[in-house]
């Protein structure tokens, strides 16, 4: 095991993320500015302008073109990065679906932000949930260090010959992107050891002509889709291995489903993204008052880690799932719905209480988690736990 470097520096998380992209020695960056992603791409443009990063920075006229440029450059065999949020992700959504089916290993940071209308620049997960079924590997991070570490992870997972999938790193807009945090940078040597150069199995080159993105008549389309689904599920070992190797390199341990004080907990909070960090604080406080409560933090959203998740909640009686996006006219938040279907066929099923909180940047503090736990208790007592609650909404 390499001795982890211990130096931590205070830096805005967006800057740290772009420094990680630089350390990956990307060949092409193509992006269109949108709050709260701007600091990431501005810093990358700056690194290219200063000659610190040898890459083509392609300042496109829209996010739709950003993802299209990425498709072309990665198909040519270049390591490729982009970043967007909210309306930008919505505009590029058409191509988001194309590139995963074409198995083009692009890495994209989504600085999660709500979707219009009304227009809002603040954080929630409605943008990510819109492309939930796009076939990308999707991961959520809790803090600045995780954001930085996961850039290396994203490229490794995307480009691995056994994966060849685009990877989306979701980090909460403003809450993470614009915060200054103490971050431990990797030495370039560590990156080199962790991330092999991109050696595409297939690339557009006159020496080996091939046809990419062909048309799928009905006789073959279903088979294509089954193959795509299997391929995404089959990335799981690559994903796990990339986390194991990361621990060896930098000493930090990550996994698809993470738990905190969960072993003996009757009630588990289930969160994704930066919620999880706040929830830990709340859990410590509640534990002091004797509450048997713990946390399950869902890091990997696609492919969904069914086995790990079922295992993590197997002893719990109650799950309090906190979503950060709406499903209009649907059964509750997207994470809660997912978890319900993941657990439905089990013999012993926990109760699931669903809250939707923190929409468009509305602050969710440790006390709010406490409040949600109290509301959950009441709902369970009243037998209304199946009805989701938009926490803190003014009626």
């Amino acid at each position: 095991m390499t001795e982890p470097s211990r130096k931590k520096i205070g830096v805005e998380v967006s800057i740290a993320v772009s420094e990680a992209v630089k350390q990956c020695d990307v060949d092409v960056v193509s992006a269109y500015p949108i709050t709260p992603q701007t600091h990431i791409v501005e810093h990358l443009a700056e690194l290219v302008a200063q000659g610190e990063l040898d890459a083509e920075f392609v300042p496109v006229e829209s996010e739709h073109s950003a993802m299209s440029v990425c498709a072309g450059s990665v198909a040519a065999g270049a390591r490729t990065f982009t970043s967007t949020a909210s309306q930008g992700l919505a505009l590029m959504a058409e191509i988001v679906y194309c590139v995963s089916a074409m198995r083009l290993p692009i890495v994209m940071v989504v600085a999660n932000r709500s979707l219009s209308s009304p227009l809002s620049i603040w954080n929630d997960h409605s943008d990510a949930m819109m492309v939930r079924d796009s076939g990308w590997i999707q991961v959520f991070v809790e803090n600045g260090q995780e954001s930085y570490d996961h850039i290396f992870w994203c490229f490794r997972v995307a480009e691995d010959e056994k994966s060849l999938h685009p990877v989306m790193l979701n980090m909460d807009g403003f809450i993470l992107t614009h915060t200054i945090e103490p971050i431990e940078y990797w030495e370039d040597e560590m990156v080199k050891k962790y991330l092999p150069p991109f050696q595409p199995k297939f690339r557009l080159h006159p020496e080996h002509p091939l046809t990419m993105g062909a048309f799928g008549p009905p006789e073959i389309f279903t088979e294509c889709k089954k193959a795509q689904d299997q391929a995404l599920i089959a990335t799981m070992p690559v994903i796990e291995k990339a986390w194991e190797e990361m621990e060896k390199i930098c000493g930090r341990k990550y996994s698809a489903v993470e738990t905190y004080r969960a072993e003996d907990a009757k009630t588990l909070l289930v969160t994704m993204g930066s919620f999880s960090e706040t929830a830990r604080v709340a859990i410590d406080e509640m534990r002091e008052t004797g509450e048997e409560i713990g946390l399950v933090s869902l890091r990997l959203w696609r492919p969904f880690p069914f086995e790990k998740f079922r295992n993590a909640v197997k002893n719990a009686e109650n799950l309090i799932v906190i979503d950060r996006a709406m499903v209009f006219g649907g059964p509750g938040g997207p994470v809660a719905s997912e978890i319900r279907s993941a657990l439905y066929s089990g013999k012993k099923r926990p109760r699931i209480v669903n809250f939707i909180a923190g929409l468009a940047g509305r602050d969710v503090q440790p006390d709010d988690f406490y409040q949600m736990v109290q509301h959950a208790k009441t709902k369970i007592k009243d037998g209304t736990e199946d009805e989701y609650e938009i926490y803190g909404v003014r009626e």
Binding site: D27, S62, S68, A75, A76, L204, P209, T211, G213, F215
Partner: protein, 310 residues
């Protein structure tokens, strides 16, 4: 002259990079255009193509008509994808990850994928100055989806979304001047061409490929199905489009205009309209109005050209 017309096309390279067996309609002059353009591009090329007739007919899985590397992603983004391929190769060659080699990058789309839904991506790619060619195969409607009007559909043409009826006489707007829009980007090379003039098309694509920076070729590509003409008549109508100046052939090289086909006496537009189902409903008044506009536009174009007697 007649002999030259007949035999000159035989002097094009024999190698087919867009091979037979694709599923285009009989007599499709858009497929012919693709074939000639590929001959001009040669083996050291990569094509990014938009959704449309040519994409659909050439790539039904698990077959392909493409002997050169080819990528299709969506309808409106061929220019962006091509610019990404160009950027990727540029970075890889500069960083020593790929051997240096001249590879021609070509974006291709129909008139819809160029002048309508693809205009923004194309404008962006041209403005950014990528070293690439973009070829528009203009068959004057959205043929792939069933002959709907585009902004490149000529005035008066009946399509499924600009149908001629009791109160409407087909397309009510004038053909968008796409080559002029490209010329306004100040790119080093713009040309119009037509697959009814194969040698001219071939040479223009060759010139476009040699240019450093963005080049644009707008190729009128007669579609017998959509124009409602017999499948054996595509070449004849392509020639008539040029001879009547409904579609003049010219180049804009570093901002300088020159006609590549000039006739001392243009044929009347009625020669071109006759026999085309899409214009069948036009009244003599409508035809006169179109003739007037065509004559005026052609004079305007001639006035800009440096190689004609004014």
């Amino acid at each position: 002259m007649i002999n030259l017309d007949l035999y000159a096309p035989l002097m094009l390279p024999k190698e087919e990079l867009f091979t037979s067996g694709h599923r285009a309609c009989q007599g499709c002059a858009e497929a012919l255009a693709v074939r000639i353009v590929c001959k001009a591009l040669g083996r050291n090329s990569i094509v990014a193509m938009a959704t449309g007739c040519m994409e659909i007919v050439s790539s039904p899985l698990p077959t392909t008509a493409w002997q050169i590397p080819w990528i299709h992603v969506a309808f409106e983004n061929a220019a962006a994808v091509a610019s990404g391929v160009e950027s990727g190769l540029k970075a890889l060659m500069r960083k020593g990850r790929l051997p240096h080699k001249k590879i021609t990058i070509a974006g291709m789309a129909g008139d819809g994928g160029t002048a309508d839904i693809g205009l923004q991506a194309l404008s962006g790619a041209m403005e950014r100055g990528h070293d690439m060619i973009f070829v528009c195969y203009d068959n004057e409607a959205y043929m792939n989806t069933g002959i709907q009007r585009s902004s490149a559909t000529p005035f008066g043409a009946s399509t499924t979304t600009s149908p001629a009826g009791k109160v409407k006489a087909g397309q009510e707007t004038w053909k968008k001047n796409m080559p002029e829009i490209m010329a306004a980007h100040g790119i080093p090379y713009v040309a119009t061409a037509c697959s009814a003039y194969p040698i001219d098309l071939y040479e223009k694509v060759k010139r476009a490929a040699l240019v450093k920076g963005p080049a644009y070729v707008h190729c009128l590509s007669v579609c017998p199905t959509g124009w409602r003409i017999p499948s054996g008549d595509a070449i004849r109508y392509g020639r008539l489009a040029v001879e009547t100046a409904a579609f003049p052939l010219y180049e804009v090289i570093d901002g300088k205009y020159q006609l590549t086909f000039d006739s001392p006496k243009l044929k009347p537009i009625t020669d071109y309209f006759k026999g085309q189902g899409r214009f069948r409903h036009l009244t003599p008044e409508a035809v006169a109005r179109i003739q007037e506009r065509i004559t005026r536009d052609y004079e305007k174009l001639r006035a800009k050209c440096e190689n004609v007697n004014k």
